[in-house]
């Protein structure tokens, strides 16, 4: 029976000890321990959150980088294309200018040739008339005094010849 009869001394000492234990542990152990544990849990949670945020940020940066890169590539393409166009334009312009110059030169050369030819023909006509007169004078001698009539006849003959020549040409 004494097993289930609480002894007053033990009750007293237990009350004193447990109250002291509760006080000491509450103040010097449980409070710091629970606070530290809570703080650490919060720190861990915060760190994980921060890591996730950083990862998202990095992904965003990566995407930005890629888009920047793509943009730069497109720009390069555009610049190259423009340069190619400009080159082609310059080349074609130069080509057409050269063509025109060549045409102009050829035309001038033709004109010169024609002029020279005409001049030469005129000279030749004059020479032929002269020669013809001299020949005729020599042939006919002094009988032919009226030079002017003779000259007109020759000029008439020559123009006929000229016409024939033109017709044949």
């Amino acid at each position: 029976m004494e097993l289930v009869t609480p002894a007053i001394g033990l009750v007293f000492w237990m009350l004193v000890t447990f109250s002291l234990l509760l006080f000491i542990l509450k103040k010097f152990a449980w409070k710091p321990i629970l606070t530290s544990m809570k703080e650490r849990e919060e720190t861990i949670e915060k760190s994980l959150q921060e890591a996730a945020n950083a990862r998202a940020e990095m992904q965003k940066l990566n995407q930005q980088n890629e888009s920047l890169l793509a943009e730069a590539r497109a720009e390069r393409e555009a610049i190259l294309k423009e340069a190619r166009e400009i080159r082609e334009k310059i080349v074609s312009e130069a080509k057409s200018a050269a063509d025109e110059e060549a045409k102009r030169l050829i035309a001038r050369a033709n004109d010169e040739i024609n002029n020279q030819k005409n001049a030469a023909l005129d000279e030749l006509k004059k020479e032929v008339a002269q020669f013809s007169l001299q020949i005729a004078q020599k042939l006919v001698g002094k009988e032919l005094e009226n030079n002017d009539a003779q000259k007109a006849l020759i000029a008439d003959q020559l123009s006929k010849l000229d016409q024939q020549q033109k017709a044949t040409a």
Binding site: E2, I8, W30, I33
Partner: protein, 385 residues
């Protein structure tokens, strides 16, 4: 072995969550592996010492050549002596540590002296003597004046040792938190933190609810006080071996603390539930006394459960050991033959007691948390009535 009743749980556990609890139990087992080994070593040592002590005992009594000469061992008496409180701490044979006796009587006032003066109950001192139940009584049998015994008994000393160990461990743990602020826990916190987290998340948070933080210091103190005392009670040599948590006075004070905490933190819904429950007025005559009885019964059951479980564990272990000496008294050979079996059973029981040491501390704390939870719960659905 009538005492093998393990009153584990009477009240409903609100959230069983077995999966979540498993890791904590496994941690406990891995922690106790070393302890188990040490404990088993200690048991062998104890076994040897006990054998030697009893031989010593027998010799000593032979020398006296009195009525004690052919005295047989009385296991019942031995067990009862081991599980009850004492004014000296018996170590082995006739060696025991004397403890201070502090008495208060109206006639003599305060008397303080060493229990060695009683000479194991053979002598009287200052008019006091020890009776056969190890209690201090008047030498004069006709004197019936009250004696208030505030002695530092075996249980008080064991409790002091346990509390000092507990305080040192917890303070060093708190110190290690302060020292390694912001770093990962190392050493002691890793051992104890799972228990604290378990109590906080699975016991306090789930039973009390959002107001749990106010009750954490009490719950943790109760749990670790019971747990450390239970474990120390399993150590068979000097600073351990006392039956502190198996003493009704200790469990009574713990239950009283729970009773006071629950009823002082009870809100209006708690008191309404007791004195004005939602039943027809005519039923009050039956319901209200039952509810009031329930208020007292809850801590009372806590007190009995812890006391019965721990005492039963001690009795069983001592009972198995007694088998050696009971058989040894019949025939020396039989005593030797029975001893391996007896040690094996005791070892098994010690493992079981390690579990019980945790389990009873846990159950006491869980039920305390549930009772507090019932007292502080806000009944929003009550507004419908």
């Amino acid at each position: 072995m009538k005492f093998t009743v393990f009153v584990v749980n009477c009240a409903p556990i609100q959230k069983p969550a077995p999966n979540k609890q498993m890791p904590y139990f496994s941690v406990l087992f891995s922690i106790s592996r070393l302890q188990k080994f040490l404990l088993s070593l200690l048991f062998y040592a104890f076994c040897a010492v006990s054998g030697y002590a009893s031989a010593d005992h027998a010799e000593a009594h032979h020398d006296e050549k009195n009525a004690h000469a052919e005295q047989k061992m009385d296991p019942g008496k031995m067990i009862l002596e081991h599980i009850s409180d004492a004014h000296d701490w018996h170590l082995w044979g006739h060696t025991s540590i004397p403890l201070p006796v502090i008495l208060y009587t109206e006639s003599k006032g305060l008397s303080v002296f060493s229990s060695a003066k009683f000479n194991h109950g053979h002598d009287a001192y200052l008019g006091f003597r020890l009776n056969e139940k190890n209690q201090v009584v008047w030498e004069d049998a006709n004197n019936h004046a009250a004696i208030y015994d505030f002695s530092i008994t075996k249980n008080v000393l064991a409790m002091f040792v346990a509390v000092i160990v507990l305080v040192l461990v917890m303070l060093s743990m708190a110190g290690s938190y302060a020292k390694r602020k912001g770093l990962a826990p190392k050493g002691l916190p890793n051992l104890i933190e799972p228990l604290i987290v378990f109590l906080r998340d699975e016991v306090a948070k789930s039973s009390i609810g959002p107001k749990y933080e106010r009750f954490m210091p009490l719950l943790l103190s109760i749990f670790f006080f019971i747990f450390v005392n239970n474990l120390m009670g399993l150590i068979p040599v000097f600073p351990g071996g006392a039956n502190v948590t198996g003493n009704i006075a200790v469990t009574m004070v713990l239950a009283l603390v729970v009773f006071i905490t629950v009823n002082f933190s009870g809100n209006k819904y708690y008191w309404k539930h007791i004195f004005a429950p939602d039943v027809p007025k005519a039923m009050y005559i039956i319901i209200v006394p039952i509810e009031i009885l329930g208020v007292i019964l809850k801590p009372f059951v806590l007190m009995l459960r812890l006391f019965a479980n721990i005492t039963a564990g001690h009795i069983i272990i001592l009972g198995f050991f007694s088998l050696i000496f009971i058989f040894g008294a019949m025939n020396t050979g039989m005593g030797y033959a029975v001893s391996p079996l007896s040690v094996g059973f005791t070892l098994f029981m010690s493992f079981l007691e390690l579990l019980v040491a945790f389990l009873q501390a846990f159950v006491f704390t869980l039920l305390t948390a549930i009772y507090i939870g019932m007292a502080v719960e806000e009944h929003h659905h009550a507004e419908h009535h």
